[in-house]
């Protein structure tokens, strides 16, 4: 489905530059939910931009369904960290945006948009403007808008980072539910260990600068999972194991940043 092969990203001059992402390779199988986790500054968002085709890598290759990614790819849908609803469009017109671009007639695209609005649990809010919604609801609108384009790979860059803990857990539930319904192949970038464990089939741990892949962790918790899974001992064990990996990297990051 997605193949990332030896991707490296350097910023600045060869003599005086920073390697943000260093020789990262991994694959995602169809229907799989994979999270990338790492401390702040490990190059997660850079990797996200490269996979989304928003930024070319210095070297290496990203391909989706066998085709090399050289710019935004129609098979890839992106949900950004920052809330990104178009404030001048109602919920339904936000969600229908990609369908409008595809030239779908208004009635048809609104019907489809309604389906995705319902999927993210915003039925009844179709005509509202984003300014009338809470942060969590707006992020759900963005997720619905991305899903409406029917991407084969869903990319999410810390989509819940700006939300409070309760909303994060409930939205995590929603994303899981959507993933179960659509069997949506998903790559989630996050710095939250619980989020990664709650949602993923596999978690990739990244090192602090330069961002390399440290370890692949398979999460064997049974599905369907809900927010309640966080109380199980298996969940705790998985979180502890990931934290052991991450603590080392995060401490290194703090030491280098002088924190």
């Amino acid at each position: 489905m997605l193949s990332v092969a030896n991707v490296t990203m350097r910023f600045g001059t060869p003599a005086d530059g920073v390697t943000a992402v260093d020789d990262v390779s991994f694959d995602i199988r169809p229907g799989e939910f994979v999270s990338i986790i790492g401390p702040s500054g490990c190059g997660k968002s850079t990797l996200f931009n490269i996979v989304a085709g928003l930024q070319p890598a210095t070297s290496g290759q990203v391909s989706v369904e066998g085709a090399a990614v050289r710019g935004p790819h129609p098979a890839v849908g992106t949900v950004f960290q920052e809330e990104s609803c178009f404030p001048w469009r109602s919920v339904i017109d936000n969600v229908a945006f990609p369908l409008e671009l595809a030239g779908m007639p208004r009635g048809e695209r609104h019907d489809q948009a309604r389906h995705f609005i319902e999927l993210v649990g915003l039925r009844g809010f179709e005509r509202r403007l984003p300014s009338e919604l809470s942060g969590g609801m707006r992020q759900r609108v963005c997720i619905a808008r991305t899903l409406a384009a029917k991407p084969r790979l869903l990319l999410m860059d810390e989509p819940f980072a700006a939300l409070d803990e309760q909303t994060r857990l409930l939205l995590g539930d929603k994303v899981l539910q959507i993933q179960q319904t659509l069997r949506q192949t998903t790559l989630l970038i996050t710095h939250s260990i619980t989020e990664a464990v709650q949602l993923s089939d596999r978690v990739l741990v990244m090192t602090y600068r330069p961002g390399r892949l440290k370890r692949f962790v398979t999460i064997d918790l049974p599905r369907p999972r809900t927010a309640e899974v966080v109380t199980s001992p298996e969940f705790g064990a998985a979180v502890a194991s990931l934290w052991a990996d991450l603590r080392e990297e995060a401490s290194r990051g703090m030491a280098e940043a002088g924190g």
């Binding site: 989304a52 928003l54 849908g77 950004f80 990104s84 001048w88 671009l101």
Partner: protein
């Protein structure tokens, strides 16, 4: 509350007018400086019948819209260009801001030499005064568009033209519209001002005319009429803006 507020404002104005009437009657305010409000009101039918105030109004409005439309076209184009080329923006934006603050109307003799004592002079000065706010508000509007909205556009494969039409323009529209509103207001002020100064054309020339004849009630009535015109223009623009907001 929202309905009471404008009513309250209107009531306060009426009260001021009534107070003025009494103040003049009591000799506190000199009647040869400010005529009684009743006399001003009584002059209005005369302005309509004898002074052709409606034709003058149409002249003023036409000149204002000509200047406003030209400023809109040129100003949004220039604003978009300054946004697109940062070097150009850094070079010229301060000068546009200086132009916005300059009392251009004082340079009217120069414009008279260039364009003659004609409607062109009025329109060109009004255009020059209306242009800077459109340019500045357009640049500010485009620059304030959150980068993530542009990233969303790109992630859906929008090209430059589609990005402009579907993301940049609608996102910047409130700011651009503020520029247009300022442009029309500055345009109107300058049109009336220059008409007054060169005694040509619409309402400004009428005010000049009436004051030369020492027709004080007529002068004040004409000034009141200009205020009414600008209030109406403001209301129409406000409505237009809200309509556009809903449709963008």
């Amino acid at each position: 509350m929202r309905r009471i507020a404008p009513l309250f404002g209107l009531l306060a104005i009426c009260l001021l007018i009534v107070l003025l009437q009494f103040a003049i009657g009591a000799g506190i305010v000199d009647e040869y400086t400010v005529p009684r409000p009743t006399a001003i009101a009584a002059a209005l039918p005369r302005l309509l019948a004898e002074e052709g105030i409606l034709t003058r109004f149409l002249t003023t409005v036409a000149e204002t819209f000509a200047a406003g439309a030209a400023a809109t076209l040129v100003g949004t184009g220039l604003g978009a260009a300054l946004y697109r080329w940062p070097l150009m923006r850094r070079s010229f934006e301060p000068w546009v801001a200086v132009l916005a603050a300059a009392p251009l109307v004082l340079a009217y003799p120069l414009f008279l030499v260039l364009f003659g004592r004609s409607s062109s002079t009025v329109v060109v000065i009004a255009f020059a005064s209306a242009l800077p706010p459109v340019v500045l508000q357009t640049v500010a509007g485009f620059s304030a568009v959150r980068p993530v909205l542009l990233a969303v556009g790109r992630s859906f494969g929008l090209g430059r033209a589609a990005e402009f039409r579907r993301v940049l323009l609608p996102a910047a529209l409130p700011s651009v519209f503020t520029g247009l509103r300022l442009a029309l207001m500055f345009g109107l002020i300058n049109v009336v001002g220059v008409e007054f100064l060169i005694n040509l054309g619409g309402l400004g020339a009428l005010i000049n005319d009436l004051s030369e004849r020492y027709d004080l009630p007529g002068t004040w009535a004409a000034i009141g009429f200009v205020v009414l015109v600008s209030v109406s223009l403001f209301t129409v623009l406000d409505g237009g803006e809200r309509w556009l907001q809903r449709r963008r």
